[in-house]
Homo-oligomer: 221 residues x 2
DNA sequence: TGTACATCAGTGAACGCGCGTTCACTGATGTAC
DNA sequence: TGTACATCAGTGAACGCGCGTTCACTGATGTAC
């Protein structure tokens, strides 16, 4: 087995490292795109792109799974940053829902593969893999929940189960995003409009249930 | 290139066929399961399981993609049958939402790989592949929409955009199902309860919006 | 400062493997008469 | 009915390929004195 990736924890001897984890990650990101999934990358391919021997990959990562998790974590935090900014900006404007969804959809059509990584790898690959995506989604839910609670308080509104609301919205938006990824770009505006209405359905439902919880028992439909 | 899969359209001559498409499909289904995705199957592996030469695969399918699409279509229609039955039964009982979600979750824990196929392959594989999954999801949405409209009429309720409602519910349920697939089974009841509430949020929202569409303009949260 | 030495980042070559696909072939099943 | 023949479903062997991983090695960089 190759030596553990964080190479010498104690004292640094020998040659100075010239390859970094970041170089390998950058190479992998260059290979990814709207039509390429992390799980379809091969070790040799990434090494080739990074300009190193296939062998040298092991100095930075234990295996491809470890690289994939690093990519997912990176994509998640970068995306949360972007969406967070968008929500911040939108707060001063008319609609937070519209603003956030628009930022999300715009990210989808950009060259940044972050969102594509999260959308694609949720249902495929190793367990560590899927757990990494799930962890990132949980971060999104958490931030959204915080935002929902704050906004509700500011508007003197109440929400039924804000955590579940945030989860429903997050999962729905990501699911729709995964569909949108493969759509011709002229159909995206339609999907965006649909998504906004869907999110508002959930929010309206949450608000209604908060003031009128017996709706929850309403049997049909 | 091997001859086109529907072998001789005109007159049947030569040997009688002893391998059928169904044999190959059955072999593939045997290999699939909660931890095995269609896209991870290899041609040789399926042929091995079917007890035929790798070569002979080509007599039935052009390539693995064609087999995958057949599997997806099969899974979709089998699953719609199951959920349809459940809804039918539930209609006479208390709650259609609960009944349907329960049928869905039960299917998730069964040995039938149909649902797993649809859940996993939505975001991976070739285009033909993803289109096949999307087509099946559209069928689900269509049936759900019909049901929603009928039930709403029976209850003298109105719905805002039933088609979008059906789409939101379908996508959300499948997204949550994909998560559930990898969960230890003791956590499934929690997730099921959450899912039921989420679906009711959407339904409550739709009902509220139908009678009070100015909620749609409500800016926040 | 200079010298001897230890470390270890990175490499080149090779391994065995399972893959998809092609080829030329066999022989059972059907048709023609 | 029997015989000659055409068809083509299914096969066995082989191909070249890219893969992940291992091995023994090199030589630049640091430390000790």
């Amino acid at each position: 087995m190759p030596p553990a990736p964080p190479p010498s924890p104690a004292i640094a001897l020998g040659r100075k490292s010239v390859i970094s984890r970041e170089d390998v990650i950058a190479a992998a990101l260059k290979l990814l795109g709207p039509h390429r999934s992390v799980s379809s990358l091969s070790l040799r391919e990434v090494a080739r792109e990074a300009g190193i021997a296939p062998n040298s990959f092991y100095r930075q990562f234990r295996d491809m799974d470890e690289l994939a998790v690093a990519l997912i974590d990176l994509a998640g935090s970068s995306l949360r940053q972007i969406i967070g900014d968008a929500r911040q900006r939108a707060r001063t404007n008319r609609s937070v829902v519209r603003g956030s969804v628009e930022a999300f959809m715009q990210q989808l059509t950009s060259n940044d593969p972050s969102l594509h990584i999260l959308l694609r790898e949720g249902s495929v690959g190793s367990d560590a893999f899927k757990q990494a995506v799930d962890r990132q989604l949980n971060f999104f839910e958490e931030e959204l929940k915080t935002d929902l609670v704050r906004l509700a308080a500011a508007n003197h509104t109440e929400l039924y189960e804000p955590a579940l609301t945030a989860k429903a919205i997050t999962r729905l938006v990501f699911a729709m995003g995964a569909t949108a990824m493969d759509l011709p770009s002229d159909q995206l505006p339609v999907l965006k409009a649909q998504l906004i209405i869907m999110v508002r359905m959930i929010l309206t439902g949450t608000r209604t249930l908060a003031t009128n919880p017996k709706e929850l028992q309403a049997d049909l439909p």
